[in-house]
């Protein structure tokens, strides 16, 4: 293959750029990044007047900081930080603002990251939850910092993520005066977007409200909690514990008890399942948050019940199992009894591909939602784990050979179709087709040198997601972050990736075995515009993220306006925009791929940089908008079938 002068130049640049990398950074946290290096953007390589991009020395110093538990006398902010610490808050993502709270939390030794946009940081917190199942916090200043987070709070709420949203507020003493700036009534703004929220107004109740927050975050169905802190509360001084109301240990203010299934409901479910010829389990968010994957596996294997996934994260049930139906959409309509476990965002009739004769058993930790949207045959109020364990115990060993064979056939059909998509995609040689990205990415992650369960993947984008998701597979819990989810905002993807990479870096919960491994993210060219600045955050913290941008010069929705130049133009960008150069300017590595045959090598290079330099990359894949037109470029824009690997909304 002939190299263009452009690619030639890039290769040389890559080599010389590495000379600037003095030390590899494989840190263990935000405030614990072990080494920091300099990076020169490609344009700066040969110009000595241009100084390299450099991580300030303070980061290395911060990494060595020792943390001492704050002692009385304490401020309100410190008391709140103490609750967070004792509750095991895993991380805080923030932008400057809400200083007393952020500083107190950081000084408690809770890993604290600071990025470029409060909304993106809130997405990072959401992303962190989605790949760990842990509570994560996001913080912004009153007024703009808080309102910048609204979209992210809404997305986290729709996805049922336990995000703790913290925002400062001005002093209550100035209420309604417009004295100073930024005083606002925050709580009504998050109405409908949270599980619980409170403006704290009585300083001595600050500990108590910390307890309110974690009681909500750690029980039932998780969703965001929003606290806002007027200055009187955070600055209040407490000499001794008795100055505070309700100052006691978490074992006294909340329970770890879970609802256990009623034996009658177990009997009813077992009866239905025993009669079923083609039963199926839908495993969703609740299985992840209750850490019920072992119970799920035991039940599925004992009673030979296939499993399909949906929700904000995937991998609770391994796609390596013959019982996985994630990549067998054609079989879904055959299921006669469906067990929906922890399916918090419930589809309406017809949104899931299950047929009109399917019966439903629904397991949910709260009764209020059971029966909404999808009529039930058995409703079970229970912690998902307890229910799956009880079912596994009560179900006899069964065989469903014909059904499993049907699923295998449907999977083969689906995968054969993917091969035809890839063959078509690869035949378009003048731009990078999404099937090429999807297939080669999946080969790289699952069929190359990497252990297939290693890479945590952020599945974002819009049209590109319709392709990539079809090829994505999950082999362990927390492996796939299903971006945006029900509140289908485009754009959070780099924010999510920061959250996921921080989780992996710290090896939090299910990410322990993959500590510090690179994280891969896919997004669209519209999508990248929203959070691309967080590549600076990723570079600064040396997070090994590889962001693949599907650059088709347009918002993916352009097809709806194709008949009118006026409205079509509203969907278009300049052609051939160089997101890779933006990335380089932010301290990341950039790749520009214009031919399908070059994608794999670019991915390999980015991966090497992720491993060796612990540095992010952006791979700008030049496509064309017409790939969404089926009549011109088969297979065109793809649809979805839910649940399973294509699932998008539920």
């Amino acid at each position: 293959m002939k190299e263009t002068p452009e690619t030639n130049k890039k290769t040389k640049a890559d080599v010389s750029r590495r000379k600037f990398i003095t030390r590899a950074a494989i840190g263990a946290g935000a405030t614990a990044v072990s080494a920091f290096s300099e990076t020169k953007a490609a344009s700066a390589i040969d110009n000595p007047d241009i100084k390299p991009i450099k991580v300030p020395d303070e980061f290395a110093l911060a990494a060595k900081a020792q943390f001492a538990k704050a002692e009385f006398p304490m401020t309100g902010a410190q008391v709140f930080a103490r609750v967070c610490k004792e509750e095991g808050l895993a991380v805080l993502f923030s932008c400057p603002g809400n200083y007393s709270i952020v500083n107190a939390i950081a000084q408690e030794g809770i890993p604290t990251y600071s990025g470029r946009h409060e909304g993106a940081m809130c997405h990072a917190a959401d992303g962190f939850c989605r790949v760990t199942g842990e509570v994560a916090a996001a913080s912004g200043t009153e007024g703009p910092g808080f309102t910048d987070m609204i979209n992210a709070i809404a997305a986290a709420n729709a996805a049922r993520s336990p995000v703790l949203v913290l925002a400062s507020n001005m002093a209550i003493v100035n209420e309604d005066t417009e004295a100073g700036i930024q005083l606002g009534y925050q709580q009504p703004t998050t109405e409908g977007l949270k599980k619980y929220g409170k403006r704290l107004i009585t300083p001595k109740r600050i500990h108590e409200y910390g307890a309110y927050a974690f009681r909500q975050l750690r029980t039932g169905v998780p969703r965001p909690v929003h606290l806002d802190f007027p200055a009187e509360v955070t600055r209040a001084k407490f000499e001794k514990p008795s100055d505070l109301d309700y100052y006691y240990d978490k074992t006294k203010y909340r329970t770890t008890a879970k609802p256990y299934p009623n034996p009658k409901d177990i009997t009813a479910a077992v009866e239905l399942l025993k009669q079923a010829q083609r039963p199926m389990i839908v495993s969703s968010n609740g299985v992840f948050y209750s850490r019920a994957w072992d119970a799920l596996k035991t039940l599925a294997e004992k009673a030979q019940i296939p499993v399909v996934e949906s929700g904000a994260m995937k991998g609770q049930f391994s796609d390596a199992s013959p019982l996985s139906a994630n990549a067998a959409p054609g079989a879904l309509a055959s299921a006669d009894v469906v067990v929906l476990v922890g399916q918090y965002c419930m589809p309406t009739v017809g949104e899931f591909a299950f047929g009109p004769d399917a019966k439903y058993i629904r397991i949910d930790p709260v009764a209020e939602d059971i029966g909404r949207n999808l009529p039930i045959d058995v409703g079970m109020v229970s912690c998902e784990k307890a229910a799956l364990e009880a079912l596994a115990e009560a179900m006899p060993a069964m065989k469903h050979d014909a059904w499993i064979a049907e699923i295998a056939a449907a999977r083969k059909k689906f995968e054969d179709e993917l091969e035809t998509f890839y063959a078509k995609g690869a035949s378009y040689t003048d731009a990078v087709h999404p099937a090429v990205i999807a297939k080669e990415l999946s080969d790289f992650m699952y069929r190359g040198k990497l252990p297939k369960e290693q890479t945590t993947f952020v599945a974002g984008g819009y049209g590109i997601a319709r392709y990539v998701r079809r090829w994505l597979r999950g082999y362990r819990p927390g492996q796939i972050l299903n971006g945006a989810y029900q509140y289908g905002a485009i754009g959070p993807d780099v924010g999510y990736a920061v959250g996921a990479a921080v989780a992996v870096r710290h090896g939090v919960s299910v990410q322990a075995a993959h500590k510090s491994a690179p994280v891969i993210c896919v997004t669209g060219d519209a999508g990248i515009g929203y959070t691309i600045m967080e590549l600076e955050t990723a570079s600064k913290y040396r997070l090994p993220i590889i962001v693949i941008v599907y650059n088709n010069n347009a918002w993916g929705t352009w097809t709806g306006s194709s008949r009118s130049p006026v409205t079509l133009s509203l969907h278009l960008f300049q052609e051939n925009v160089r997101y890779d150069k933006v990335a380089e300017g932010l301290g990341a590595h950039g790749e520009y791929v214009t031919k399908p045959t070059d994608f794999r090598a670019a991915l390999e290079r980015a991966y090497q940089i992720a491993i060796k330099e612990s540095r992010p990359s952006l791979i700008n894949c030049q496509a064309k908008k017409e790939f969404w037109v089926r009549q011109q470029y088969e297979p065109g824009f793809l649809g979805t079938v839910e649940p399973g690997c294509m699932s998008y909304n539920h």
């Binding site: 959409p329 309509a333 009529p375 014909a402």
Partner: protein
């Protein structure tokens, strides 16, 4: 007394309404059933016991005769009889036969049952229509956006 054929059909459909699958289920004239299902659109199912035909009338708009989608639709329907499909997904040609007709770009889908096997017929037709919409969601999201007001995203 043996149930009338229409009563068998009525009761079969009613089960879907009772189970919450069909909404707003009604019978405007004898043998003319209406209900909201799948994409929240009203569907009209006409029964003609003289010809043993169940017909989803004007089910799919915007498919001109002879268009690529029309041909694809016909292929999809023929394949419902394919013996390689598992029995629970197939329409057994010995018991019923599926067809489609189009007028002014409006496609109706019919099932002609044999020997008055209406319980079988209703069940197969309802399942087939479900399969058809899953197929359209997978392969022709743009068609659903344009013709069924499905949100583009």
């Amino acid at each position: 007394m043996a149930k009338s054929q229409l009563q068998v059909i009525r009761e079969s459909l009613q089960t879907y309404a009772d189970r919450g699958i069909f909404r707003e289920f009604s019978e405007s004239k004898t043998g003319q059933f209406h209900f909201v299902w799948l994409l929240h659109r009203e569907m009209n199912l006409q029964v003609d016991t003289a010809t043993q035909t169940l017909r989803f009338k004007q089910l799919l708009p915007g498919i001109p005769t002879g268009s690529a989608l029309h041909a694809e639709l016909k292929k999809f329907l023929t394949e419902r009889h394919d013996r390689r499909l598992p029995e629970h997904r197939r329409v057994d040609r010995r018991r019923a036969e599926v067809s489609c007709s189009s007028r002014g770009g409006m496609v109706s889908i019919s099932l002609k049952v044999k020997k008055n096997q209406y319980t079988y017929g209703v069940n197969r037709l309802v399942n087939l229509i479900h399969d058809l919409f899953v197929y359209l969601r997978d392969k022709h999201p743009d068609y659903l956006v344009e013709n069924f007001d499905v949100p583009q995203e």
